[in-house]
Symmetry: C2
Subunit: 183 residues, 2 copies
């Protein structure tokens, strides 16, 4: 039984255990493999608008994701997300569950689209998964990622417009019309 | 006679005169049209790795650009740049001169590619200019920019691999081999 809930400060140590090996590996995220715990905290919790953890029935942390605006003000209706699943918990649909959760969360925060800026092309599982969840590869950045083992590899920009409950005719109507949007 | 030189703190007031109307217009940069001078200083000089001004023979500032890494460490070999020409000085090739200068500057700083993340599709002059200087449109982000007059419009991701003086076989050789690279 998987539950996805907002992260709390007391979750950090266990969350760091989950994300540290991924950063250290240098194969999927651009952060330095030598990143400190403080820098990782800032990147994963400090800078983002919201961070969530996926937990099992015993509240053990199996994954985490963040969401944040991808650009300043006039591009801030497009969000960016990052997702990591604990190595021991892979293949159980946790990334899928977080991806779906993050899209609903994004809509509830007033975002209209989601963009992944640097999906490493050799991370085929991730590319396949995001496609399955409706993301399109809008572009390929040649040799934009320095993979720890493989050297310079291509990275993909992936993008999805989100289903919002308000209309889509531009600036006149870009403010949420209902009461459920926070941003 | 156009000269492009590093910005100095004493250039800020004149540079702000050049870039403020562009930010206020909200048609090409994502910054809030209500951005303060302090926020603009941080974005244009504080955060970037280097900022330059284009000046005429009397040292009057006609344009400015910045350059910075587009991603953390494992994506930090790709830079991002932003360019603004004073309204009164347009049509004189200043943007072209800054674009070429920024590419040489990027190579000298050790960057291997340059990426524009959010070229507003309605800014046709810019799109044409960047193409002329060798940038490819690698992707289109549907409705990713909230244009002050036009509402949500598409934005382009543009990218160019730079000619570097060292080879291109990946991580083993990613450190500059000569003495002219600073990064």
């Amino acid at each position: 039984m998987l539950k996805i809930r907002p992260i709390e400060e007391t979750d950090w140590a266990a969350t760091w255990q989950v994300i540290e090996p991924v950063f250290r590996a240098g194969e999927t995220y651009p952060f330095s493999p030598g990143i400190t715990q403080e820098e990782a905290h800032r990147a994963w919790i400090g800078m983002p608008s919201a961070t969530f953890v996926a937990v099992d029935a015993t509240d053990e942390i199996l994954g985490s994701y963040y969401i944040k605006p991808n650009q300043p003000e006039l591009g801030a209706h497009v969000c960016n997300g990052g997702y990591i699943v604990a190595e021991r918990a892979r293949g159980r649909g946790i990334a899928s569950a977080m991806c779906e959760h993050s899209q609903r969360q994004a809509v509830s925060m007033g975002f209209r689209a989601m963009q992944y800026n640097l999906v490493v092309s050799t991370n085929e599982g991730a590319v396949r998964l995001w496609k399955k969840h409706g993301f399109a590869v809008v572009g390929t950045l040649p040799k934009a990622f320095l993979h720890s083992r493989l050297g310079y590899v291509d990275a993909l920009v992936m993008y999805k417009q989100l289903q919002t409950s308000y209309d889509d005719h531009g600036i006149e109507s870009h403010r949420p019309v209902g009461g459920r949007h926070r941003a």
